[in-house]
């Protein structure tokens, strides 16, 4: 008997005895059930808030494939040598110990939305009253000719939680003297808009110290990018002459990549790299597609609640959703999770539902003690999540301010990971 069916067997047994002895006592199985798929920035936060704030009135099951969550946020700082790998790993133990979340480490394979059941890799099924999907992204391997699942060890994307970023760091550290690091950022829309450019900064930081004659070439499928002025000024200041960014209009489009020869072919030229980080296009995690709540690559949502437009019993959070003006970030996913948690509690336990409020700030590190940030807050419009107000760091800020911004990002990292996992 697997865990889930053993649990339901026990509660069934309890229910039968209590029915005979004390019919008035309600058992665990009478509580409304929320199933959360994906224990990342959106899912872990949603599971924790629903369990914590409903004080046991809602039965929360979190289905997460991995035993540990290694954050993509700060993985660039690991790459640059500012953090060790263990410091970006987090366990799910507190969610069960402190809030009674039933954490199941397995893959959710399919969703039967009419029967309101999720099927797991083990074969077990879990039923729900409300389902929250926060599966993050899947990589569209076929979006770049020549790229594939196999290619990712030669040309890692390192764009999902896990050990690929370790492979990439080893490759950068072992690059031949005076070699070339090539980066192919993804096309819009994608997870973490400033992420590829923070990654370039962190690679430049290592190379400046260990391999100062090396070069970085960025072959971008876009003509502009997030915090562009700030990043480009930072590269010129800290790594003069090292980074060459080539926009789509200049190279004319990426035709293919070849992991064997380490070549990237564009209309303009064929670039040969010693180390290459290739990040293809992305789409919502497969389970969102399977649940039938996507339109194209992503899940349209109702801004006031994060319910999907396709099925009001299913909520989609984070990268997998179409959150309009909100970027696909950990901060956004965490913010959306709280709006959904409040709405779900209201639906299932009649607690008060407050108007949606969303926010996001993305900090990036350009060099030692040189932090920059961009942020906004948002409200739920009828059709879309809309910007209320926004800011971005200035190019002419002093060093003290930049250092403070970096220190603030450490506070944020501690904050969000506590908010997800404590």
């Amino acid at each position: 008997m697997n865990n889930l069916s053993r649990r339901s067997f026990v509660s069934f047994a309890l229910a039968s005895t209590s029915l005979l002895a004390m019919p008035a006592i309600s058992t665990g199985s009478a509580r409304p059930k929320v199933v959360v798929v994906g224990g990342g920035a959106g899912g872990a936060t949603a599971a924790r808030y629903i369990a914590k704030d409903s004080k046991g009135a809602i039965d929360v099951t979190l289905i997460e494939a991995s035993k540990h969550y290694y954050t993509c946020f700060y993985s660039n700082l690991y790459l640059g040598g500012f953090r060790d790998y263990d410091s970006i790993g987090h366990s799910y133990d507190n969610l069960s110990a402190n809030h009674g979340v039933n954490v199941v480490h397995d893959w959710a394979i399919s969703v039967d939305s009419s029967a309101r059941k999720v099927r797991l890799g083990s074969g077990a099924t879990v039923s729900y009253d409300r389902l929250v999907l926060s599966p993050g992204i899947d990589i569209k391997y076929d979006s770049i000719d020549g790229y594939s699942v196999e290619a990712q060890t030669k040309m890692p994307h390192a764009w999902k939680s896990g050990t690929q970023v370790k492979v990439l760091r080893d490759q950068v550290l072992n690059m031949p003297k005076g070699g070339t690091f090539a980066m192919v950022p993804p096309p819009n829309p994608y997870r973490c808009p400033p992420g590829p450019y923070e990654r370039i900064s962190m690679v430049a930081h290592i190379l400046k110290e260990k391999n100062p004659t090396a070069k970085i070439v960025v072959i971008d499928p876009k003509n502009k990018f997030s915090k562009q002025g700030l990043f480009m000024a930072g590269w010129e200041k800290h790594y003069p002459g090292m980074v060459e960014w080539i926009d789509n209009d200049t190279h004319g489009g990426i035709k293919n990549v070849n992991p064997e020869t380490m070549e990237i072919e564009t209309d303009l030229d064929t670039f040969k790299a010693d180390v290459a980080c290739v990040v293809p296009a992305q789409r919502a995690g497969a389970i969102a597609m399977n649940a039938g709540v996507t339109d194209g690559d992503w899940s349209p949502i109702v801004p006031a609640s994060m319910q999907t437009k396709a099925d009001s019993n299913i909520y989609v959070l984070g990268d997998a959703s179409v959150a309009s003006a909100m970027p696909k970030s950990g901060f956004s996913a965490n913010s959306q999770a709280k709006v959904a948690a409040n709405h779900i509690r209201g639906e299932l336990t009649d607690s008060r539902v407050f108007p949606a409020k969303f926010s996001n700030t993305c900090w990036s590190l350009v060099a030692t003690n040189d932090g920059i940030k961009v942020g906004a807050n948002y409200k739920a419009g009828e059709e879309k999540i809309e910007v209320v107000d926004k800011f971005v760091s200035k190019t002419d800020e002093g060093n003290a301010k930049r250092k403070k911004t970096y220190e603030e990002s450490i506070g944020w990292y501690n904050g969000i990971t506590t908010d997800m996992f404590s």
Binding site: F354, S359, K373, G375, S393, E408, G411, N414, G415, I416
Partner: protein
């Protein structure tokens, strides 16, 4: 000594305000449940466990929190993130957050 007397005075007034015995216009309309919901936005960054980079605010005096938020809202204190967050809060929301964070253990 003056400092201790001052702190004592603040503590007593906060207690009275919290119990509704003295009216404090800055805390008018405070709604504990609303404060709990709104606190989610703060807790992405502010944690009790550490002051590193971002201050811990649990258990701070309600008036102190309300006054700080108003200063950020009016851009009289610097920090873009806080100006943004506070800028989008109305008086009732500020009061609600203030009494909610005050109720949390330090």
């Amino acid at each position: 000594m003056v400092n201790i007397v001052f702190k004592f005075f603040i503590a007593i007034s906060c207690l009275l305000i919290f119990r509704g015995l003295v009216a404090e216009p800055l805390l008018d309309g405070a709604d504990f449940d609303y404060g709990e919901y709104l606190s989610g936005q703060c807790l992405t960054c502010h944690q009790n466990s550490s002051d590193e980079g971002i201050p811990a605010i649990n258990g701070a005096e309600a008036l102190y929190i309300a006054k700080k938020l108003i200063l950020y809202k009016n851009k009289e204190l610097e920090n873009e993130v806080m100006q943004l967050v506070a800028g989008a809060l109305d008086k009732e929301q500020i009061a609600s957050l203030a009494i909610y964070f005050n109720s949390l253990e330090k």
